[in-house]
Each structure stands twice: as C-alpha cells, then as structure tokens.
C-alpha cells in the first residue's frame, strides 16, 4: 500500500515522468466542455457520441436510496456488456446532467465509482456507450434530504 506522501513535493517529479511518456499533450483536447453543459440526459449522451439510450439490465447504477447530504452522493456505474467504450454517470435534475465520463479500455473493468453533488432528489443514470455508438442505461431514484449545490 502507498504510504502517505506530500503530493505537492512529489508531483513535479511524476509529472516530468508522465510528460516523457507523451501523456501530457493528450490532455489539451480531452475535456468536452459542451457535453458537460447539456441540460438533459439525452443531450449529454448524444454529445458523448451515443444514440438514443435504451434501458438495459446489463447496465447497473449503484447509489443510496436516501442521501443524507446532497453534497456527497456515492454513485457507481458498471456494465456486463462487451465492446463498451464509454461509461457515463448522470443526475437528471442537476443544472447540467452529466457528472462524469469514463473511457473504458481493455485494461480496466467497465466499473467505476465516484461521488456526486445533487441539488435535489432525482433519478440518477448509468449509461454505457458501445464502440458502434449504441447507448444503454440503468436508472434509480436517489432522495436527497439536504441539497448540495446551493451551499
């Protein structure tokens, strides 16, 4: 296991290392700002290169039934489908629906977890986009007892 370290101090060295692997230049064009500004689930999926999403039991969304605090809502997306290139996590009623996008490679499982802010109770979506642009989703309702966006 990683021992604790001072990130700031250490970062420069690793950054140098990564730069030498040719990793850094790819950042420049990575972030798709427009997709993260779309308002609906459908628009976001489209912006991320998926067709109209179809509900599928092969996609799983995990999250709490009730979030005590909307500032931190643990959510997970996964799928048993093969040939998946992207996994999306969305919160329908947030000001922008798209929370996170994960690019799936052969080296990782199509299974990711993070935590999201939620302004109010809402359906949350996991969407899997396949290599041929098909989109499959699963959703569940998460009730928020205290909003997390307004501060």
């Amino acid at each position: 296991m990683q021992t604790r370290r001072e990130t700031l101090k250490h970062s420069a060295a690793v950054a140098g290392l990564l730069a030498s692997t040719g990793l850094f230049p790819q950042y420049a064009q990575a972030f798709d700002k427009a997709a993260f500004e779309t308002k609906s689930v459908a628009e976001a999926v489209k912006a991320m290169g998926g067709s109209a999403p179809v509900e599928s039991k092969d996609v799983t969304i995990t999250g709490p039934d009730i979030a005590e605090n909307g500032a931190v809502v643990p959510l997970g997306v996964s799928t048993s489908l093969g040939n998946v290139k992207r996994m999306l996590l969305l919160v329908e009623k947030n000001p922008s629906a798209l929370i996170a996008m994960f690019n799936v490679s052969p080296e990782v499982e199509a299974n990711f977890a993070t935590r999201s802010k939620m302004g109010q109770s809402s359906d949350v979506y996991a969407v899997a986009i396949t290599n041929d642009g098909k989109a499959f989703f699963a959703k569940k309702e998460v009730k928020v007892t205290l909003g997390g966006c307004g501060g």
């Binding site: 990683q2 690793v14 990575a30 972030f31 500032a71 929370i99 990711f112 935590r115 999201s116 501060g151």
Partner: protein, 99 residues
C-alpha cells in the same frame, strides 16, 4: 492525493482521494455574486507508465473527489499513476505501488 491499489486475483482495485475544491459554479458568495466553477476536468490512470483509463469530470463531482476502478492484470509491485488537471490548468500527479 491518496492512492490505494490492492491486488486480488488477476486484478487490482484502485481507490483514489484527491484534494480539490470542486467549486460547482452554482454557489453565490457573500455579496450574491456567482462563484465561478473550478473543478478537475481530466483524470488519467496509468499502469507501469501505460495509460489504462481516462475520465472527464464536470463541476458536480464532490469536493475532495473519490474515484474507484479496477485494473485487469495488475499485480503486486506494479506502479499505478494518477494525474488530474483542472479547468484552471493546475495539475497533480501521484503514484502508488500495487500491494
């Protein structure tokens, strides 16, 4: 950053905590002015220097973000690297050894 990389069978679970404000862009300051969004937007994971996962995040990912994913074929002793970049161009990288 805190990276924990734990091998089990022929894969390793990676858990990451990152220090970041993740300002949503929805909040107002004391004078009623909107505080601009400030968030991590790109995350890259490497295994022994090779990119295995990239992600894009919006401002709705929670403050001090948590990320969990699984790398296939990773074994004890392998190096897992995580790099993030935010919308102000700030970046951090760190590395952990799979145990």
């Amino acid at each position: 950053m805190r990276i924990r990389a734990q091998a089990a069978g022929d894969k390793a679970t990676i858990r990451v905590l990152m220090s970041h404000e993740m300002e949503s862009g929805q909040r107002k300051d004391g004078t009623g002015k909107l505080i601009p969004a400030w968030h991590i937007q790109d995350v890259t994971a490497t295994l022994n220097g090779k990119v295995v996962m990239t992600a894009e995040w919006g401002p709705a990912v929670s403050k001090n973000p948590f990320l969990q994913f699984t790398i296939k074929g990773a074994k004890a002793g392998d190096k897992v690297g995580i790099t993030w970049k935010d919308n102000k161009g700030d970046t951090r990288s760190d590395e952990a050894t799979v145990s």
